[in-house]
Amino acid sequence: MKNALLKALKRIEPDKAKSPFMHTAYDAFFTFAFTPNLTTKDGVHIRDGMDLKRQMVHVVLALQVLYLFGTYNIGHQHFVALGEYTGFLQGVHLKLIYGLIKIIPIFIVTHVVGLGIEFYYAYKKGHGVEEGFLVSGALIPLIMPPDIPLWILGVSVAFAVWIGKEAFGGTGMNILNIALLSRVFVFFAYPTYISGDEVWIAGIEKAAEGGYFGQAYGAVYGFFDNIFAGLGLATFGAGGSAVVDGYTGATPLAIASKEGWGAVTETYTTGQMLWGTIPGSIGESSKPLIIVGALFLIITKIADWKIMVSMVFGAAVMALLLNAWGATEFMEVPWYYQFYMGSFLFAMAFMATDPVTASATSSGKWIYGFLIGFVGMIVRVLNPAYPEGWMLAILFMNVFAPLIDHYVLQANINRRAKRIKAIMKSETPDKPAPATAQVQA
């Protein structure tokens, strides 16, 4: 079977000289199907089985459960806002289809734009398509609000890949985390689409006369309605019904930043926050699943546990200090509950651990992680406009990672120089120089 597939693929290989762009694209897909038949030249004769593709794919694998949950949660939040199927397992098919209809275009636009730019540069520079966007492309949909307009998404991805990565020389050369760069682009260029209360729930509109309404369901939903009706299941219907009274769609963080922890628990239970059936970016909400992903990355040694641990530590220290200060309601939120809200764990597991933009040295990683946690908590709690800090903290520390590394390396250089000096000093010849001393006999 393998040989037949190989033959079939080899037959459709475009000519490299005639159509280089097609060949680049072909090569990208071919190397995906088959590890190339390259052998070692000089240097080592055998190589570790791990390559960048395998490395990156394992991150994507760790994200799959988040995709599953995130998709379902888009639908779940939508229906909860409308007061329908409020139980988590009610209307499963509707929630799932609703989520898929939202997330698939986001996923496709992200990849078409991102990979398009990657392919173009690979063709321009004449090398194979690099794997960096595998992970970025899987992360970006998870950190966007479900209703993000697709053109904004496209522009932000293009900005991140073009300015953030290709301008610096491609995968492995970027200074800032690509996925976060695309999010921060939306955050600064189109803030109303990624902050506030209503953006985190899909398909909710503000009516002209005030109050929120569910959007009318389009033709795609009608298509599924036909199927569901045929199967005797509940259908989407026409839509346009009003949101339940008093429902704001505010995330726990948004509530906590204004009214403190007490107000949060009036709206959401801690169980809800833990399991993630709350509004938010698509993939950030389910803590247990993120922890599963993080453990997967730690066990497979793909992400660095030092960054994750020190980041938790840094955030906890700052949260404790803020607790002690306690000047505002938000500061008084018990420090451990800070981890229940927002995207801390997602940022810790998948964003801060990006090896390209993180510190490269072991001691540097401790410092880097700790400072992300520390700074991120400051941004989250003391920022009057926007109650979340990890995106900005990580990007901030991305910029400082090379500086941290510089000092770690300098310390290493000094330590080494000191050792050599100590040895040179203690260099008292423990026997007389043989050349002169022993001739007499």
Partner: protein
Amino acid sequence: MKQTVSKGILLILAMGAYTTSWAQAESGGNGFGSVLTYSLIAIAVLIFFFLIVQVSNNLLSIEAKQLGIDEEGGEVGPGNEGFLGRLFQPKRPAFLDESTPVTYLRRGHDIALEGEAALSIDESVQATTYAVQPPNFLGISPIPKMLVEEGSEVKAGDHLFFDKTRPEMKWVAPVSGEVIGIERGAKRAITAVTILADKEQQYRELSAFDLDNSSREQLVEYLLDAGAWTLLRQRPFNVVADYNEVPRDIFISSFDTAPLAPNLDFVVEGQEAAFQKGLDVLAKLTSGSVYLGLNANGETAPAKAFTEATGVKQRWFHGKHPAGNVGVQIHHTKPISLNAKVWTLGVQEVLTLGKIFTEQRFNAERIVAVTGAELKKPVYLKTKAGAKIADLLKDNLANDHVRYISGDVLSGKRKEQDSYLNYYDDQLTVVEEGDDYALFGWLLPSFNTPSISTTFPSALIPDMKFKAETNTHGERRAFVVTGNYESVLPMDLYPQELMKSILVGDFEKMEGLGLPELVEEDVALCEFVCVSKQPVQQILRQGLDTMREQA
């Protein structure tokens, strides 16, 4: 050290005092009292922990001084053996008594391959052709001056050629026979002088040398004439030793941890006297000491030749590959720099050196391990330095789509069937060429792929042996993953940053980050694990070459 500690404590106290006064000044506001409480608790915990670490560290170093590990004033096991590292020290080998210091190297990786040589010497296989290859010797001029021509008859130990820039440095024939070829490569550089060996070996008899009653200069002169100088290599740069220099120390590793490497305990069997003689000679050549690295791995003690060697300082090392590399051992014993030069030798070179004095002839005998899963019978062979590969593999190949490697699979050199083993190599490895496509290689859990990654199921099976093949398992990429190189190199340095500094040509950083301490074999494992498939050894050599030109 004490100063740093007291400074640290003072700083923390000052911070505490500052916080207190600040908190009192602001105490009108609510919550500042608890800032004070929290910070005081935090500081107390920190100081407590700091003191514990400090006290135990001091106790450990006092103990180390008593045991004599610390006599050079350096840290014990720098960087690698931290405070916590010592807590979880592996079990001390049973054959060592309590007072013997052992350096435990935590980082590293053993690649278990199929095709280990059985511990017996196959006397039936004899090579007929041998070669001395000038490119094996780094730091000499590329076109040495020939003293023989094609067709000349030579005895083992006769001079073949000398270095143009240093005429005293002479290379000698490993066997007696007829010079059948002087092969030339690019720019007419001599690549090999080949000799067809006689059935009956004849040796150039050397005059006896009185080791005890001669000066170092006389010894150097004697060794240069005997052709023994080429056995010595000098670090940094791994070049042929310079006879005008007196090395700070001489280092020998008595065990090899590379994949399928020859068992040197087996090799040295029956040659104890020659080995000890070699050590005695070396002791005269250095102003410092001769250090012998010993193997603290495994259940049984190393050969008596090593454990009972006299006139040397013994250092025990426990750990995975590259614990047996002399470079790693130097780093943990007495590190080198550009100005602090040391010499190194392999065990078989020491034997040849010793035999010059015990047998009065240049006996380049090598016991070579012929290894690899592609052989019918991996075994040890008794031959001479620079034997022809085809001769050594006679009727032993199970597969013909293979690669011949002089040395081990990590740092060995690629050879053809009709070429020769390199001068310093005592191992021939044959592995399968892996020029095949693997379907979904980036995803599927393949069993026959050696890796340090736990994404392969083989990580769950300890002691699993792999069938080596030469596929790269991926394409070359820019550096992405960090921390991998460090995880397999038990030295206090940052190999990936060093590689980057070489690539950008930053001399100061190269030297500072420890380039003089490394040679190719030390970073070979880094190249093996490299996810981006970078040619780490090649980059390192590039750095060493440019640095040598500058120096």
